[in-house]
Amino acid sequence: MSPILEIKNLNKNYGPTNILNDVNASIEDGEFLVLVGPSGCGKSTLLNCIAGLEPITSGTIRISGRDMTHVSPKDRDIAMVFQSYALYPTMSVAKNITFGMKVRGIEKAEQDVKLAEVAHLLQIETLLDRRPAQLSGGQRQRVAMGRALVRNPKLFLFDEPLSNLDAKLRVEMRTEIKKLHQNLGASMVYVTHDQIEAMTLATKIVVMKGGMVQQIGSPAEIYMRPANLFVADFMGSPAMNLIPARVTMNGKGASFTITRSAAPPMVLHDENIKSLPDNVLLGLRPEDIGDASLRKGRKLQISNCHVDVVEPAGADTYVLMTLGGVEVTARLQAETAAQRGANMEFTFNMAKASYFDANTGERLN
């Protein structure tokens, strides 16, 4: 079975500037691919290229096994939902949804059937005669999705569809999109700058920066084994701690020496390491640093650290300390007795540690 979408060696230049650099990605039928990255990383441009709305300089795009690199959008068997919904302002909701079918010359009777199906699915039956200006943000979003659904395409493309909604609505619509994906089993490519959206919706994530793919993988892979410093920092909130450490190798793996002000350096060990350069950045997510009095475990290493700031956040309490000269966040249970200015015993789960080269930023383990 060929992948539903296959991008090979895609490059896009705009004049002298290189916007997309050697992008390779593919998804199978039914997958939910999320393109995520900071603004300007090229994710929207990549989506527009997949749609055929922007030309590419070199490379190929195949949809359903057919080469679509030079095919116009209307023949690519895709549908797209835009950030601003892009509903036709002078047409009713019904006309908005059926416009594409009308252009393609589909019989009115069939248009009506499809319209009714989609309106029922998205619960917008009562809105069919209204104009977009009379709808709320969430309703407009649904109409935009209805317009896409009615095409029954091979590929659904979403360009930051939730960015214009307020926080609560965003969470609701996110769930709706996820349910839609599960019910239809459709293939979706979704662009967002919100890494939480990416983690919750995706079956596969492409992290981008500066026009280049940083990492492709499942949400779990991206989260637990980021490929470089950028991915480690960008994905996950609060961000992964990146602690400078000096490495010494011995018979039992590696030892990491981390400096502390007004205290002797602390040392952590990882026996699974064969070799590492002298200086690395030790990556540990906040939830991998715990309160030793609340968390027990043989594999956890304990060290006594000074607490700088305590931030209670409901179900968790965040504690900030300074290690290796950088600010480190630990995510503790709410019952913790951590106090600002006091010292406390912390556990470090080195089994979850990531190591990064301090110069190239690449992952070393």
Binding site: N48, A51, L53, S72, P73, K74, I78, A79, M80, F82, Q83, S84, A86, L87, Y88, P89, T90, F99, G100, V103, R104, R147
Partner: protein
């Protein structure tokens, strides 16, 4: 001490009132300044010659007579012919209506292209076309006269329509472009994905949205073309002159007694269409005037 505490707020209020009255007085004075010529034109056109000679500029007519008006309309002399303004009024209508329509339609389509279908040279092309609005038309009078002569359009209304369309496209394109640029590009993208073609998108999506700018453009173009004199006097002949040329002929004709009341009546007749448009749709007219100038 207590005296000033009581009178101070009062004094302030009085000062504000006086200033306010001064403001209104100034504004009214200026309003009179602008109305004065119109007032003079109307009153003079309703007087008979005797009264004009003996009376004063701004006095109201002692006897109102419409004689000057009927002369201006049907028997004033514009050179050799003495048919009044009537035939020339229709010349202007025959000139203005097609010219306005054609230049507006072309401007709409051009503006659509420049705003939403940009290609590598489109901005430069637009700039070059825009520049054409700013040239003093004296610099094209001579060659245009030759071209009109060579194509047999010299002295004809069709020739004038042609000239006004050519030199009006710059402005109309600018108006539509500035308007279409505010329509989000995602709308065009969605339509492309839906399969709509260039023309489909224009007729189904952009045109229905365009009423405000169409009104502005039509009003602007109509005013420009109806009020034009330079092209009219350069490219028309005795039978095809627009009303502005005829008016000038009536006023500046050196034969016989100067009939000031007829002159004024003729001027008002010539001014009526654009004045009416302004009164009825003035809001849009102002929007048109400021649209191209105040770059937002």
């Amino acid at each position: 001490m207590t005296n000033s505490l009581i009178t101070n707020p009062l004094r302030k209020m009085m000062k504000r009132l006086v200033l306010r009255w001064l403001l209104y007085l100034l504004l009214c004075t200026f309003a009179l300044y602008y109305m004065m010529p119109l007032f003079v034109m109307i009153t003079t056109s309703l007087k008979n010659l005797e009264e004009i000679r003996t009376g004063s500029l701004m006095s109201l007519p002692r006897e109102i007579t419409m004689a000057a008006w009927s002369t201006a309309w049907s028997s004033a002399c514009t050179g050799i012919q003495c048919e009044g303004l009537r035939p020339y009024f229709w010349n202007s209508v025959l000139l203005a209506v097609p010219a306005v329509l054609i230049s507006t339609i072309i401007g709409a389509i051009n503006g659509y292209v420049v705003a939403q279908w940009r290609f590598k040279l489109s901005n430069i092309l637009f700039a070059l076309m825009l520049f054409g609005c700013f040239i003093p038309f004296q610099v094209v009078l001579l060659p245009m006269a030759r071209v009109l002569g060579m194509t047999g359009l010299a002295g004809s209304i069709s020739g004038l329509i042609f000239v006004h369309v050519i030199y009006g496209i710059g402005f109309t394109t600018l108006f539509f472009r500035n308007y279409y640029v505010t329509i989000p590009a995602e709308l065009v993208k969605a339509a492309k994905v839906d399969g709509a073609s260039f023309w489909r998108i224009f007729f189904s999506i952009f045109l229905p949205l365009s009423l405000p700018i169409i009104v502005v453009t039509v009003i602007w173009q109509f005013t420009q073309i109806w009020n034009d004199f330079l092209f009219g006097v350069s490219f028309s002949q005795a039978g095809t002159q627009p009303i502005t040329v005829a008016l000038n002929n009536i006023v500046n004709s050196t034969t016989g007694v100067k009939e000031y009341n007829v002159d004024m009546a003729a001027a008002i007749i010539a001014a009526l269409p654009t004045l009416l448009v302004y009164i009825v749709a003035g809001k849009y007219f102002i929007r048109g005037l400021t649209a191209g100038s105040v770059k937002g």
